[in-house]
């Protein structure tokens, strides 16, 4: 009987092109359930409406999509399953929709869809998806700013521990908001220029690194970033870890930073100074930047 059960749990089942074991199915069902039960206790903190329910459903779709991305990048079924499993109970994802009703997943999923479509070779659709995501993100941030009904912005950051936690965030707010966007545009332009001049071949690894780099870089320098500005990077850091095991600390650190920003916004106090998280983010940014640089050089040398 024991041997039967042992064999049963690892026996491969096939539905179409998709193969799985009983253990896979068990984990998928259990972790999905765990994700739901993890969300239920906090769901009443904010109003639960169709938008929140939709966002929770999208959390799972995003987890599946990321599993598919990892499978495409690594060809590892185990890592793809793990990605889904981890994302189903990812604290920032759960808190963003179920607890806080911010529902950033509506646009974040479009970034990852764009990335997935890029991997599949649909460049135009990929671009459209990212553009749509960016458009919705900007609209949501604008809406949120209106909801705060602040006549004069007093801080360059609205909760995300970025560059402005290091310099005085309340100085020259209405000038630095424009200056920082221009500097960010300049940095991105320089990055694009170097890519174009070096004629870098964009491999999947490079695409993933670039995706993570931009997901960390943009909220690090953009003004008025909300506490959930690291959502995309949270998920991208996990994908990066699935591709490069030695970077295990990246999702871990980013998640701590991200959830601390949530906690600060929701609790109104922080146990550790927010500037510490800014420095951690800078470290992550530099780490990914160095990886990206090395990957680019590999691409050039090929």
């Amino acid at each position: 009987m024991d041997d039967f059960l042992r064999d049963f749990i690892v026996k491969r089942w096939k539905i179409g092109a998709f193969t799985f074991t009983f253990l896979d199915a068990l984990l998928a069902v259990c972790i999905t359930g765990t994700g739901i039960f993890l969300r239920l206790p906090v769901i009443n903190y904010t109003v639960t409406g169709p938008e929140k329910i939709g966002a929770i459903a999208l959390d799972y779709i995003l987890a599946l999509l990321c599993g598919a991305i990892v499978h495409r990048c690594t060809a590892s079924r185990n890592r793809a399953f793990l990605t889904y499993a981890i994302l189903a109970i990812y604290p920032t994802m759960a808190a963003n929709a179920a607890l806080w009703n911010v529902n950033a997943v509506y646009y974040v999923i479009l970034f990852f869809l764009g990335f997935y479509l890029y991997l599949r070779g649909f460049r135009v659709l990929s671009g459209l998806s990212v553009l749509a995501g960016t458009g919705i993100a900007l609209y949501r941030i604008y809406q949120w700013r209106l909801a705060l009904s602040v006549a004069y912005p007093v801080s360059l950051t609205r909760g995300w521990p970025n560059f402005y936690e290091i310099i005085p965030k309340g100085a020259f707010v209405e000038l630095f908001d424009k200056v920082s966007l221009l500097c960010l545009a300049g940095l991105l332009l320089t990055l694009a220029y170097c890519f174009a001049k070096k004629q870098v071949r964009i491999t999947w690894d490079l695409a993933l690194q670039l995706f993570l780099f931009l997901a960390v870089l943009i909220p690090y320098f953009a003004p008025y970033m909300p506490p959930w500005a690291g959502y995309t990077a949270d998920v991208a850091a996990l994908l990066y870890f699935m591709r490069r095991k030695e970077r295990f600390y990246m999702p871990l650190l980013h998640l701590i930073v991200s959830y601390s920003a949530y906690a600060y916004a929701m609790n109104g106090e922080t146990k550790l100074p927010m500037v510490l998280y800014s420095v951690i983010l800078l470290g992550i940014l530099v780490n990914v930047g160095v990886d990206l640089y090395r990957e680019i050089n590999k691409g050039v040398n090929r």
Partner: protein, 399 residues
Amino acid sequence: MEQAMNKRGSIKFDRMDLLYLAAMTVIGLAVRVILRVVTTDDWAMYWDPWISDLKEMGFSYLATDRYDYTPTFVYILWVISKLPVNPMTAYKGLHIALDFVAAAVMGKIAWKVTGSKTKSIAAYGLMLLVPTIWANSALWAQCDIIFMTFLLLCFYYFFEERPCLAMFFFGMAFVFKLQSLFIFPFLVILWVNKKVKIQHFLWIPALYFLSILPAWIAGRPLMELINIYMAQGAQDVWSLSIKWPNIYQIIGNQFFLLEYASSGTWLILGILMILMYAMAQKRLRITNEFIVQMALFFAILTPWFLPHMHERYGCVADILAVIYALMNVKKFYFPLVHILLSFNSCMAYLGQLRFNEPSIYYGVWAFVELGLLILLGLDIWNYMKNPENQLPALGKEAA
């Protein structure tokens, strides 16, 4: 080799280069245009009254002791006072224009030292985004970009192996700001290693004397003009460190004000003497990278020990760190960390923190700066210890 040098003679731009250069110029200009409206204390308390006096008194203002900057800077203010435009716009406009000149020189330096067109063009673009540069000229209405541009030209001509011209530009930098002396010891090392002749050093007093001549003719006593930097140093002595993260931010910047001010100056002089003695013992192969290493080392070391250092005194190290990273990409963290540290200090002043500490305490930044100093010191040590970089000693060579 000669072919490679010829190749570096001129840069040919394609359409993408021109597009990037144009876009970065527009971005750099837009950043500065946005910030030009800020009126800082330095403008309100110094430059504006000085320009008003110059308007009223004309050139005879130079005979007075109402200014404590070198006369060369006051000549510029005199020209501004004659212009039919808003003085602050004219003043900031001039310094903003110099930002672009400095960026172009940085691009030329990158071309010279790397031979990479992409790096050279990107260096121009990135230089325009360096926050301590735009904060200094467009926001603060400070004038450090003048002497920094001359210092960049000094380095460019050293890389071109034209030491006389390089020393001329160093002399020009000195004529505008005493901070140019932070890196002076590296010139002594270059002299020991036969890269500069003793007569090239004469540019420094000669240009300084020429620069004070009109003010002397206008009527200000010669001794006052010669000692103008001494008088400048006697101001702002209310703290051992004026928001610059150095040793005094670790040991306490409000105690033993007079005692440490004097002892600290002697201490750094002693340190510089020991270092110059140690570095002058051996003849070394002087590469462009070693030149920048040494200059950057002294640009960080000197303000780390000198008392009364201001927030913006890291600007020389900022630009040298950029050049260092251009030469050796593995040192990318030098400009990243130093510019962050330097900008943080500038913002502590501009953001009106006054006596409050910034979110990362000055003491922490002081240790970060010390870390950079140690890393750079190790780089220099390793370079000097490498037998490939050692040349026969002076006596042996003569024999």
